[in-house]
Symmetry: C2
Subunit: 334 residues, 2 copies
Amino acid sequence: MKMTIYDVAREAGVSIAAVSQVINGKGKISEQRRQEIVQVMERLNYQPSVIASALTGKKTFTLGLLVPDISNPFFAEIARAVEDQSHHLGYSLFICSTDNKKERAERYLSLMQQKRVDGMIIGTGIANKSTLASLMKGRAPVVVIAREAKLAAKTVIIDDYCGGGLAASHLLEQNHVQVGLLSENEEVSSSRERIRGFVSKWNEAGLNIGADRIRICGDELVQDGKSQAGELLRGPNPPTALFCCNDLLAIGALKAAKELGLRIPEDVSIIGFDNTILAELTDPPLTTVAQPTKQMGQLAVDSLIEMLESGEKNDERIVLQPELVIRQSTAIKR
Amino acid sequence: MKMTIYDVAREAGVSIAAVSQVINGKGKISEQRRQEIVQVMERLNYQPSVIASALTGKKTFTLGLLVPDISNPFFAEIARAVEDQSHHLGYSLFICSTDNKKERAERYLSLMQQKRVDGMIIGTGIANKSTLASLMKGRAPVVVIAREAKLAAKTVIIDDYCGGGLAASHLLEQNHVQVGLLSENEEVSSSRERIRGFVSKWNEAGLNIGADRIRICGDELVQDGKSQAGELLRGPNPPTALFCCNDLLAIGALKAAKELGLRIPEDVSIIGFDNTILAELTDPPLTTVAQPTKQMGQLAVDSLIEMLESGEKNDERIVLQPELVIRQSTAIKR
């Protein structure tokens, strides 16, 4: 039997108007009451007529999330957190993955707008400034997550510069001097900041990092991380520690070290970034800089829906703090 | 500068009509020529006016993929393969994740239809038979991936029964007698078949598996796998080997064994299923039954687009063979 708005109102002990206010995101209704009504809707599996809302120009209760690579567990975990929170607030989520192909980002953004999502969360770099500008002027509000936008935009991000510094401090405390750095390509703002933060902390200690020690990896992160780490470890004055701008690069570095017969952490220390599910599984488990993935996903959705409901866009930056998680892939230099 | 159909035609050295045929998926044009034109479109970043196509009732060049949990690397890898192949054939992809909540599947299916996707790939169970029946009768063709549909439907799947048998044969060769099995919940057809195949092979060898040795885990796969494996390993006559219906459950089992101070594989052998990125990272690396994820994603998209272009639905089942990947988490029983 298909549930109607009447069933929801009766079950929740509220008026039909109150249920309608929840569905349409309008009217004065307390957050607690709203959540109670949403819970009844879920329990009864009630589905408001989204088509009707869309035709009358109202909301579609659909959000869009754009990520660079859904097979990178960091973005899969972000997607899960965003989906959870969206659903919790009564919205559905379309996830689009550009598979690291920049030209697909614009196509997906335009597609999401055509499909009339109410708002978009963007976790990819947008190469084209004019695309971004027109996006910001569009009907649907935008939140940028885990990346710096090139224009003023609502952003939920960690302090990547500080994260790079945390990794550097940890290695400095362990007496490492020769280090190698593995970065994503230079268009990835988070990688750039992590490297900048690392190098700055290293320089503060009176140490230098030669340009040839900072390696830019391509989109095949594990494979490219492995080959770049291999070159560093086989070269002259091999590094005793590697800082990798994400866990997938660090996994590549682990593979390279093992293939060369090096022990981790006795012969070489390796630090990752993101603290994905992968980090605690590697052999040895990976020391890494953690991003609060779940919190970031929640805040991005909350910010987006706040803009949607208030009708006012804002370009505030929410900056969360990263945290060093020490496992067994780093040790004092011998 | 915005590229037009004229730019594409000139660059590809073909007529505008030929480009139009590619865009609208109509007309006689060789597969090779079609791909050349698609490549030129990509290179020029040409975007056909999808809105115009949609308004005239033509295709939207959008596909939908529904998965139970995008944070499970198996489905993230399926999603990546489906996105890659969709893009290769000129389609965009919306990914929806139900976060293992069955009631969300129907909402997402209805949403995809409202958004006029040209076709859908479904990797979740659909609890409601009538939902499935109406889906099959709908405008957009459907392919089911990695799950058995409850009604006749085009399906791309592996032989899960055979996969369970492969795991059993491997453990039998290693002289294991006492085993424990970790399954997903009973509505997940792939898990049911894997368990059935395992038990059948075990029985063929004249051995029995008590019902209390087959544990059903909830949706928190790592956590529930850990607690169920822990109960088995702490109980009377603890198993010397555990077969887990996916890699996340196996990771839970690894954690449980380690917490109890058991060595893997010396004290207990553990086998997973899926051969995700996780399997080669665990300590020790996980013996697992591999699904050909990339091939499955490609075949699902190819099948869907074949139905789309021919206008004829079919309910053929494509059954691929799983493969045992032996790593270091299994050994001869001591």
